[in-house]
Amino acid sequence: MNNSDFSRQTSPQGLRKPVSIYQKAHIDLPLLLIVFVLIGLGLIALYSADYNGLHKFNRQLANLSVGVVVMLFFSRVHPRHFQYWSPIVYLIGLVMLVLVLYTPLGVEANKATRWLKVPIIGRFQPSEIIKLSLPIVVAGYLSRFAVPVSIKYVAVALLIIVIPTYLINRQPDLGTSLLIAASGLVVIFFAGLRWRWIFLSIIIGIFGSIAMWHYGLEVYQQKRVLAVLDSSDTLGASYHANQAAIAIGSGGWSGKGFLQGTQSRLNFVPENHTDYIITVIAEEFGFVGFLVLLIIYLLLIIRGFYIATQAYNNFQRYLAASLTFTFFIYVFVNIAMVSGILPVVGVPLPLVSYGGTSVVTLLASLGVLMSISTHRHNE
């Protein structure tokens, strides 16, 4: 394989479209620029959140450096290699999830067993491996069949999704398991699930929601759902939710200014360097700052979807679209949760929140996206 790759590089390319220098370097320039702007915004917010000491700020610089290297490395790897290796990685991930749950290798922290302690390598979350490999496996599997995909193959794909989702939910880590499930389901959607199934699931979803509303939710939960777009009902909410709402709300149109966010600087908002970092941006740069951030995210989404439509084959299309939309789900769930629309599940704001694992995983997935973008002529 290496040999054939090598031979392609030296083969004449006269019949093909002219290839840009970035494409040769396997860099998707618009995506890279958007990523750097996001990272920059994240660092500004983190600088403010971590002003006393900048310990986390410095560590995030290291995390980002590793992440960017991983991204650039992944961008050079041909998508077919991801397709080839992903089932093995996925299976290793499953084994690790089982080890975490059912053997003493799992490390318990904050009433959840999410970490696997491996000698020499150290601690890490196997769910991150699944997070990366699952959409690739599902895309790889479904891309083998003609569009629209028959329901029995969809059933197999669902099984691939459900197993890790169940295991991760057992840890328990509801947020991650739902996001992983979503990333797989998005692939099924893009892989051409028949519209009738889509409508059927939507209808089931609507009736399920109505049933859930009447029989599953307590009155206070109903109230909370109804109060989503009305901030006046924050009194009954938790301290964290309240302080986050105060931080965001007090930012106003243009914010209190860089390093002037009192809610964040005086530690009123907990976890404001990780999951709640949007509060720092909203407080210090206001509604305008939030809009700028959201627009940059949307640019990334648009670029991702564009890459999906331009991809070389179905596998790459499914994967690119799935990675892109999953990325947006992260953004939406995080902001919705911090601003009080969704219940609190631990989801970081992509590339902005502090955290080594999430930064490296997300940049790796963007690396895959870049690889799809720069290998669209199948070089």
């Binding site: 569009v147 051409g192 989503v228 965001i248 106003g252």
Partner: protein, 683 residues
């Protein structure tokens, strides 16, 4: 290769994926719109509300307790001041486990059960701005030990604060009083007086004495510090500070020199009594060695002394013995120590000067005598035959204290020699109402002092009083008893001092008070000058005052005078006075230490009221000593020393008071000095 080898541009699946991507992009925009709406609601629509709540979060207003006004005596000595105390304080939000903290702290400094109990009680009442004091008044060594080991002590700090200090300890406890931590009752009263604002930041309040009477003046006004705090309530920085207003400094008539002289004499008397009792015991032992020799210890003389400046009406001395140290009240009395004092038979917390009520005994004679002679019931020259017995109408008879009586005597001699039978007769002739009226004119039976804490009115009995309280009608025998100051009479030493002052002032009323003046923050001196407590007592014949003064002088100077024990040879002035010996009812049920040693006579209370100089009175003194020898022998010498201390200058000559009165009040306080210096600099 399989289908992957199709050219990407014309692949049939490409359109399908494009549609679905567009659908998802639409979903992305819809969801983004939801976020924008939500953030718009929070940041734009409800901005005002969240902005306010954000400010409420971070801004805390921390009250600063004002410095309490200082109380000075007439010489500028501090009776109640403020000193810096180094305290071990606990940052409450940093401590999770109290018991562990105590254990840690105990490694370095002692921590008593009382201190721990105080801490536990106080810690729940502490606001965001405050520390909780774990141990106050740290010694230098303790500070050094704690500072050196600070890295090992998490959550505790050493803080300096001003605390109330009474430099004279127990000597002025009953007049100055003390402060203490506010309790629920105090807080309720503060709320009722709408003074809650004044007390923000202050944890203490005047509990007794002047500290309570002048609480609003001494308190000052709290300042305020606006600070930014973090979510833990820790102060990050100060934004604004409004300084507290220091309380007003009180300047008293109390003269520590005179008061200490009296206390010193009391101690000398105690030693004398002790020596005498020991000598008696030795003599007994030599005579009868069968019983073992006992060490005799006389703990203290119980009693009260009040001295009033006749000219100003200011209280120069106010002693209640035994007393107590008010300093521990400032930081909290230990439970045990407090129990010992409160359950002591000597009742050190009882202010005998204003709340101790006694039968006035023979000291009432000059007052009743004056009323009797002015109302014409007796006359100065009419002789009375004292036989040693006084026969009552019902056949009973009352004995005089002197066997065989005093012979033929007039009113002056009856005063000088304190002839009981004479005054039985006077009372019998006068009847109740004129006696009651006369004594009311001297302020007996009512509270006349201006600023004495919780003083009692005593009892100037009347028919109505007996009917209401004893459900009995008044008998002539009751009246006869009044003649020698026994029966239903109850007076406090304060009242006797005031009555004696009125006697010395020839009926001109005034307002007895402790505080002369106080100083405003701008240096303005405000004199406390309440109106006289009563209308003046005007006699039908004003010359009777002088005559009674002469009679009282004879008590000391006549060879038969009951107070002739005072050494008058080297006196630079003349004293007028009256002794009295009252039965001590309160002690009848107690076995007492001196009882067996000195004889039953000591179960009586010894009175001595006096004023001097007799021709131009300046100081009036009332002394009562419980279970003591005859009033003339112990009390009178104490009075003499007090007169010396007040009336004589450094050279032992009589002070010229006429000039002193015109001198501006001497102020030697730091704070006020600044203003004085300014004035000097201007000149």
């Amino acid at each position: 290769m399989n289908h992957q080898s199709f050219s990407p541009s014309n692949h049939p699946d490409k359109r399908s994926i494009r549609n679905r991507v567009l659908l998802m992009l639409l979903l992305t925009f819809i969801l983004s719109t939801v976020l924008v709406m939500r953030l718009h609601t929070l940041q734009v629509k409800d901005y005002e509300r969240y902005s306010t709540r954000s400010e409420d979060n971070r801004i805390h207003s921390c009250p600063i307790a004002p410095t309490r006004g200082v109380i000075y005596d007439v010489n500028g000595e501090i009776l109640a001041g403020n000193v810096t105390s180094f305290n071990l304080v606990v940052l409450r939000h940093k401590i999770r486990n109290d018991e562990k903290l105590f254990e840690e702290v105990k490694k370095y400094v002692d921590l008593s059960d009382d201190e721990i109990a105080h801490f536990k009680r106080k810690k729940d009442y502490v606001g965001l701005c405050d520390f909780v004091i774990l141990k106050s008044r740290l010694s230098d060594i303790e500070i050094a030990v704690l500072s050196a080991n600070r890295p090992f002590l998490k959550g505790v700090e050493i803080e300096a604060s001003l605390i109330r200090n009474y430099p004279f300890n127990e000597y002025f406890a009953h007049s100055v009083g003390y402060i203490g931590s506010r309790n629920d009752r105090d807080n309720k009263r503060i709320d009722e007086n709408l003074a809650t604002k004044q007390y923000i930041g202050t944890k203490i309040i005047g509990k007794t004495g002047l500290e309570k009477e002048y609480e609003p003046l001494l308190l000052g006004a709290p300042g305020n510090m606006i600070a930014e705090v973090n979510s833990n309530g820790r102060i990050i920085r100060e934004l604004n500070r409004e300084h507290p207003k220091t309380g007003k400094n009180l300047h008293l008539f109390l003269d520590s020199k005179v008061q200490l002289t009296a206390l010193n004499e009391l101690e000398n008397s105690r030693l004398k009594i002790e020596k005498k009792a020991q000598a008696q015991e030795r003599a007994r032992f030599e005579k009868d060695p069968s019983k073992p020799f006992r060490e005799i210890h006389v703990p203290n003389i119980k009693g009260a002394i009040v001295a009033i400046d006749v000219k100003t009406g200011g209280i120069v001395a106010m002693i209640s013995n035994p007393s107590f140290d008010p300093n521990p009240f400032v930081t909290g009395y230990g439970f045990k120590a407090y129990q010992v004092l409160s359950e002591s038979k000597d009742k050190p917390f009882l202010n005998r000067a204003s709340r101790g009520t006694y039968a006035p005994a023979s000291t009432i004679k000059p007052f009743i005598g004056l009323g009797a002679v002015d109302k014409g019931f007796v006359s100065w020259d009419k002789k009375f035959n004292s036989t040693g017995f006084y026969e009552l109408k019902n056949g009973n008879s009352k004995k005089d204290w002197k066997k065989g009586g005093h012979g033929l005597i007039d009113l002056q001699q009856a005063i000088t020699e304190s002839v009981n039978t004479y005054f039985y007769d006077v009372a019998y002739r006068m009847k109740l109402e004129p006696i009651h009226e006369t004594l009311a004119n001297f302020g007996l039976g009512q509270v006349t002092a201006h600023d004495i804490y919780a003083d009692l009115p005593g009892l100037n009995p009347s028919r109505q009083w007996k009917k209401d309280n004893r459900k009995q009608s008044w008998y002539p025998g009751d009246t006869v008893n009044l003649g020698i100051g026994q029966g239903y009479f109850l007076v406090s030493p304060m009242q006797m001092a005031i009555a004696t002052t009125i006697m010395a002032r020839k009926g001109k009323w005034f307002s007895p008070r402790l505080v002369d003046y106080y100083v405003e923050a701008d240096g303005t001196v405000i004199t406390v000058s309440p109106p006289p407590a009563r209308e003046d007592y005007v006699l039908n014949d004003q010359r009777n005052w002088d005559k009674m003064h002469k009679a009282m002088e004879q008590v000391i100077y006549n060879s038969k005078g009951t107070a002739k024990i005072i050494n008058t040879k080297d006196l630079k002035y003349r004293i007028a006075g009256k002794t009295g010996t009252g039965q001590n009812v309160s002690l009848s049920d107690e076995s007492h230490y001196i009882d067996t040693q000195i004889g039953s006579k000591t179960r009586d209370n010894a009175w001595f009221v006096s004023f001097a100089p007799a021709d131009n009175p300046r100081l009036a003194i009332a002394i009562i000593l419980e279970n003591s020898d005859h009033g003339g022998s112990v009390a009178a010498p104490i009075a003499r020393k007090m007169f010396d201390a007040y009336l004589l200058n450094e050279n032992g000559q009589l002070k010229d008071f006429s000039t002193i009165d015109e001198v501006e009040p001497q102020i030697n306080i730091q704070m006020e000095n600044e203003q004085i210096h300014e004035g000097v600099a201007g000149e």
